[in-house]
């Protein structure tokens, strides 16, 4: 059994175990065990990957396994992983592990909650390990549907409305994506009976330019909808605000990364000429979503809305960097995905814990929590500093790589847009500090928030795993950036070979 398919098998086994469980109390223990095992597997995978690379294995994808699925359409269940997907898998396992512990006190329908949560995780893991477009698309859609139930049943506020809006918009994105994939499939090789869905084989063939011009926007916008591209981001604030803690952690932390990763791996890697040609439209859109998201966050009153808008801004940055199509910017985009994934999961986790205690998310109603719940407040400050790019935490590494990379672009227009994007670090600082100042510092305004219980053990585990990984990337980014950089190299070579700009 190849190691990669284990990543899909373990969650499925966990789900079946939960199904067979009678007593609902053990449900969270079983899922914690399952996801803990998954985290362990991720660590093993990273170790194996690095040792394989160390031993001089230089082919693009490692641990490649290929099972024929539908012979007539040449669809394979092909799995393989390179530095980038290993990084994404470790991110996902970390966030899922923290998510499980953040939802320790779910009351209604415990079993169904954990089943849908882990189903979502299966979809995401499947997406990251597969290199066959069809399997990738199947896992992509599999990951979106549990969101409806998770937000609809366990959410708060206008949960039906936002659950429906979120699902429809994301499925709308995947609809465009389907047409894009079919376009790529039917142009994937000159002679008709060699058509393939396999990314590696398609990348060896130059898709004719008119086809690229038609299908690149479709695919990029299809993934962009999930990656919070500007006009299609409106599902994110409502969706996150009414989702339960763990769900918004998983969604913003991991699911939105599917969009960025997909845009990079499918849209740009397979259709570089069209990507380069049409990139100026999407550069404008993504830079709007960065600045727009940051400004939007300043004026919000609800904690979750602030974080939702900041996720729009950070994910916009990812798409922006991916479009720059040079080695540094793309590596920066991947690191930004990982760092933002961890940070936003941390933020949503903490917001959920604060909401669990004060039962309100309006920052005006709360104040001076530092004295009342010191552990959570300190973690919140650390999360805030990480998200505004303090050196020594992962935000800085990601953003600096993107800015320096984006600034290496030969054309002046791209460099001027980069300077506009760089100003987003100030706006981020404004809204982060605004929240920290109102929420945590200053005297306690609300009398019945005088003595709230501080973090329980499972909350501590969830928060510490995330802070630990954020600090690890921040302090020693070398291992991560080289891991991603080396596997970015062949991709960049292929892109530059086709259109040396």
């Amino acid at each position: 059994m190849d190691i990669l398919s284990l990543f899909v098998l373990i969650p499925v086994l966990t789900i079946t175990a939960i199904l067979l469980l009678k007593d609902t109390r053990q449900v969270r223990l079983v899922s914690a065990f399952g996801m803990g095992l998954q985290l362990l597997m991720a660590a093993v995978l990273v170790y194996l990957y690095l040792s394989a690379r160390h031993a001089g294995n230089i082919d693009e994808m490692l641990f490649v396994k290929d099972y024929l699925w539908f012979k007539s359409l040449n669809i394979h269940y092909a799995v393989g992983v390179d530095g980038i997907s290993v990084a994404m898998i470790s991110l996902t396992s970390l966030v899922v592990f923290a998510g499980i512990f953040a939802s320790w006190e779910v009351e209604i329908l415990k079993k169904e909650f954990f089943i849908s949560l882990i189903l979502l995780a299966t979809g995401v893991f499947g997406f990251f390990i597969s290199i066959d477009l069809f399997t990738m698309f199947m896992f992509y859609e599999l990951a979106v549907i549990p969101m409806y139930l998770l937000i609809g049943i366990w959410g708060s506020g206008p949960k039906e409305y936002s659950a429906m809006k979120l699902t429809l918009m994301l499925m709308g994105g995947s609809a465009l994506l389907l047409v894009g994939l079919l376009g790529i499939y039917f142009n994937s090789s000159p002679d008709k009976n060699q058509l393939t869905f396999n990314i590696l084989e398609i990348s060896k063939v130059v898709i004719p330019l008119p086809a690229q011009r038609m299908f690149f926007p479709l695919t990029f916008v299809g993934f962009g909808v999930l990656g919070a591209l500007f006009p299609f981001h409106t599902w994110s604030p409502d969706g996150h605000a009414s989702a339960p803690t763990a769900v918004s952690m998983l969604h913003a932390g991991v699911l939105m990364k599917l969009g960025g990763y997909g845009a990079f791996r499918v849209a740009i890697f397979l259709m570089p000429e069209a990507a380069h040609e049409l990139s100026w439209i999407f550069i404008i859109l993504t830079s709007i979503s960065v600045i727009y998201g940051a400004f939007g966050a300043i004026a919000q009153k609800d904690l979750k809305y602030i974080n939702a808008y900041s996720s729009v801004s950070h994910c916009g940055l990812v798409l922006f960097a991916v479009l720059m199509m040079n080695q540094t910017a793309m590596t920066g985009a991947i690191i930004q995905m990982i760092s933002h994934g961890l940070m936003t999961a941390l933020f949503f986790g903490l917001i959920g814990m604060v909401y669990g205690r004060t039962h309100t998310r309006m920052i005006s109603e709360m104040g001076g929590l530092m004295k009342v719940i010191p552990f959570l407040s300190v973690c919140y400050v650390i999360a805030g500093l990480a998200s505004l790019g303090l050196p020594g935490l992962s935000g800085f590494v990601a953003e600096m790589t993107i800015f320096v990379g984006a600034f290496q672009h030969p054309e002046l227009f791209y460099r001027i847009v980069t300077i506009i994007i760089v100003s987003s670090i100030v706006i981020t600082a404004v809204y982060i500090l605004r929240v920290i100042a109102i929420l945590l510092l200053g005297p306690t305004t609300n009398e019945h928030f005088e003595h709230l219980p501080d973090a329980k053990w499972f909350e501590k585990i969830s928060v510490i795993t995330l802070i630990g990984s954020v600090a690890a990337i921040g302090l020693a980014p070398f291992w991560l950036s080289t891991m991603i950089g080396t596997s970015m190299h062949p991709i960049i070579e292929r892109i530059l070979a086709l259109n040396p700009f």
Binding site: G296, L390, F396, V426, L433, R434
Partner: protein, 639 residues
């Protein structure tokens, strides 16, 4: 080659101390954590003294110039093949001088805080933040490349945010820390843009390759022009913008007076000696580029420095809170240093301004720290910040009184003290290159003497106010640093800076120009005299004077309404006219279009529900017309 690899411990030790106190601080007894912090600082002070001695006196010089020694260096993050961030230690005259300054002042502040902060609730948190600050400041100073400097630049910003907001219960402290962080963050944005432009053109971050006069960076600096100025000038102006933010020069000075909300040792350490001079250090570090390939930027530095010093000196004369007076005097003194750098040339005697600025930085650190710690002792005794509520303290606080007097005399530029030598060098440098700036600085020297002694007389002399309870002299741990610093500010005047710290590392001869020294002493005495008349004894002269210049006094007192202007910009413009419309736009336009699609489909489905009328004959009618329409379509219209 002397082995300097141990110097990596100088920044590393405070970082470990920060981790120790930060994580395990609340478990240790406050006393122990305080001693741990101070001990750590003491150790690295000794280390830096040893390094300074070995560097200046034992390491050999290549054709007369001190060498830039990379003690250790490792790649932290690889961007492109040529651009990568390294973390390491670079030793050269200004960085070793800064090492000495930072560690000395920090050590003094640590000892002082043992006394000042005793009994405070967050005692170990305070020392943890102090160690974090020392780590980031040392890291900044020892940076081998511009990106490492940017990293520690941000860390310094954050530690100042944490320290200013130490009393997080006080809303004013929270507001002040937030303001400080955002203003400096805005300036750091400029610094980052400068780095990006610089690195794009010169393809490197390292200081050595950048600042090497014969190197490629400077040679092709004048290259691609963009909107009139050469790209190198643009990058230097942006980099200087970062310096302006951190050193509280004119446009971004508003955060420094509010930063006084933090505990006084913090103000002494950060807002007098170390952090605020980071801007000066940055310009000094990049000086070869400024001087050789971006002279326009150097002029900008000079004029910003001059204007800030004049502007701050005028405001300082009207302030009543003693810490705010000292804060504005700091802005004014740093304006001095910036001016000195601005008017200096490169190499040999031309670099007099550079040497003078570094010299003044060194001496200013000593006596300004002393002034702040003295003010701390006064506030500690009287429990109030305002001069108006003090008077005749010389009887109650003898040691503070004497040390404070020495510091005031130094800053006023009275001969035997260090202030006189360093300020005189600056005035000489200014005189040789730019007469207008010399005149401005000359006036500022007078003003400085006036407002310092206004402070001194109204606190220690003036009316004998009766205090609610007997003000007592500060305990030993607070007075010892005062004495040491007082001795320091006396002795440092005689250090031959022209042999140690020069723009190109070579020694050059410079003697005291009496032609400038005498007038500067005279203007100093004049300032003291006026202050003596107005404030020595209870007198109505100051109020009468204030009445006559009613408007200008009111304006100066309210800091020329700069705070209100910034508040207006941030609150009104950014919040009301950008953030809220964006949020509204997102809620009512982008979101509304998505909902509109849904409502349109619902509307259409409502309107066409009539088709399904339940009438059999209507169905048949649609059936037949459908068939006929299709056949017409495909026979005639759409072949």
């Amino acid at each position: 080659m002397i082995n300097f690899s141990y110097t990596i411990w100088i920044p590393l030790l405070p970082f470990l101390m920060f981790l120790l106190l930060g994580l395990a601080g609340h478990k240790l007894k406050p006393k122990l954590s305080g001693l741990l912090g101070t001990g750590g600082l003491g150790l690295i002070t000794i280390l830096s003294y040893v390094t300074a001695f070995k560097y200046f006196f034992t390491s050999e010089k290549v054709d007369g110039a001190y060498q830039k020694i990379i003690a250790s260096n490792f790649t932290w993050l690889q961007f492109t093949d040529k651009l990568h961030i390294d973390i390491g230690v670079l030793l050269d005259p200004i960085s070793v001088m800064m090492l000495v300054v930072i560690t000395t002042v920090s050590f003094m502040v640590h000892i002082y805080s043992l006394g000042y902060m005793k009994g405070e609730k967050g005692f170990e948190r305070f020392f943890a933040f102090l160690s974090l600050f020392s780590f980031s400041m040392l890291g900044l100073v020892l940076a081998t490349n511009i990106f490492q400097m940017y990293i520690f630049w941000e860390l310094v910003g954050v530690s100042s945010f944490l320290l200013i907001g130490f009393y997080y219960q006080k809303p004013s402290a929270v507001r002040a820390s937030k303001k400080a962080f955002i203003v400096t963050r805005f300036a750091d944005l400029g610094f980052l843009i400068g780095i990006l432009i610089l690195s794009f053109n010169t393809k490197t971050f390292d200081f050595i390759t950048l600042t090497d006069p014969m190197g490629t960076a400077i040679a092709q600096g004048g290259g691609i022009a963009f909107l009139g100025l050469s790209v190198m000038t643009w990058s230097m102006i942006f980099v200087f913008m970062g310096g302006v933010g951190k050193s509280a020069m004119f446009p971004f000075h508003i955060w420094l007076p509010d930063a006084m909300e933090g505990p006084t040792p913090v103000s002494a350490l950060i807002h007098a000696a170390t952090m605020v001079v980071a801007g000066v250090y940055l310009v000094a570090r990049m000086f070869p580029i400024y001087a050789l390939s971006a002279p326009v930027a150097l002029n900008v530095v000079a004029y910003v420095g001059a204007f800030s010093s004049l502007f701050a000196a005028v405001i300082a004369c009207t302030q009543t809170d003693i810490k705010r007076v000292l804060a504005y005097s700091t802005i004014s003194q740093i304006g001095y240093m910036m001016l000195a750098l601005g008017v200096s040339g490169y190499g040999g005697h031309e670099g007099l301004g550079y040497m003078a600025s570094m010299f003044h930085l060194f001496t200013h650190a000593m006596f300004k720290a002393l002034l702040f710690l003295g003010a701390g002792a006064i506030i500690h005794a009287v429990h109030s910040n305002y001069m108006t509520e003090m008077g005749g303290l010389r009887k109650y606080l003898p040691i503070t009184h004497i040390t404070f007097l020495i510091a005031c005399l130094t800053i006023a530029g009275i001969p035997p003290l260090s202030g006189f030598f360093s300020k005189d060098e600056i005035l000489a440098a200014a005189f040789h290159s730019n007469k207008l700036l010399f005149a401005v600085e000359y006036a500022v020297a007078g003003l400085t003497a006036f407002y310092m002694f206004r402070l001194y007389f109204s606190v220690f002399w003036g009316k004998d106010t009766h205090y609610s309870h007997e003000p007592h002299e500060a305990p030993a741990t607070m007075t010892i640093p005062l004495i040491i610093l007082a001795v320091g500010s006396v002795v440092t005047g005689f250090i031959p800076f022209n042999k140690l710290v020069t723009s190109d590392g070579k020694i050059f001869e410079s003697e005291l120009e009496l032609m400038i020294a005498i007038p500067s002493v005279l203007i100093g005495l004049l300032g003291i005299g006026i202050a003596y008349i107005m404030y020595r004894k209870e007198s109505a002269v100051p109020d009468k004077l204030a009445a006559t210049f009613k408007y200008s006094y009111k304006w100066a007192y309210n800091k020329f309404y700069m705070d209100e202007l910034y508040l207006f910009i941030t609150k009104k413009i950014i919040f009301r006219y950008i953030a809220e419309p964006v949020a509204w736009f997102d809620r009512h336009v982008v979101d509304a279009t998505m909902n509109a699609i849904a409502t349109v489909t619902q509307g259409v489905s409502y309107r066409i529900r009539g088709f399904q009328s339940g009438q059999l004959q209507k169905y048949a009618f649609v059936f037949i017309t459908g068939a006929i329409m299709l056949s017409i379509l495909f026979i005639y219209l759409w072949k």
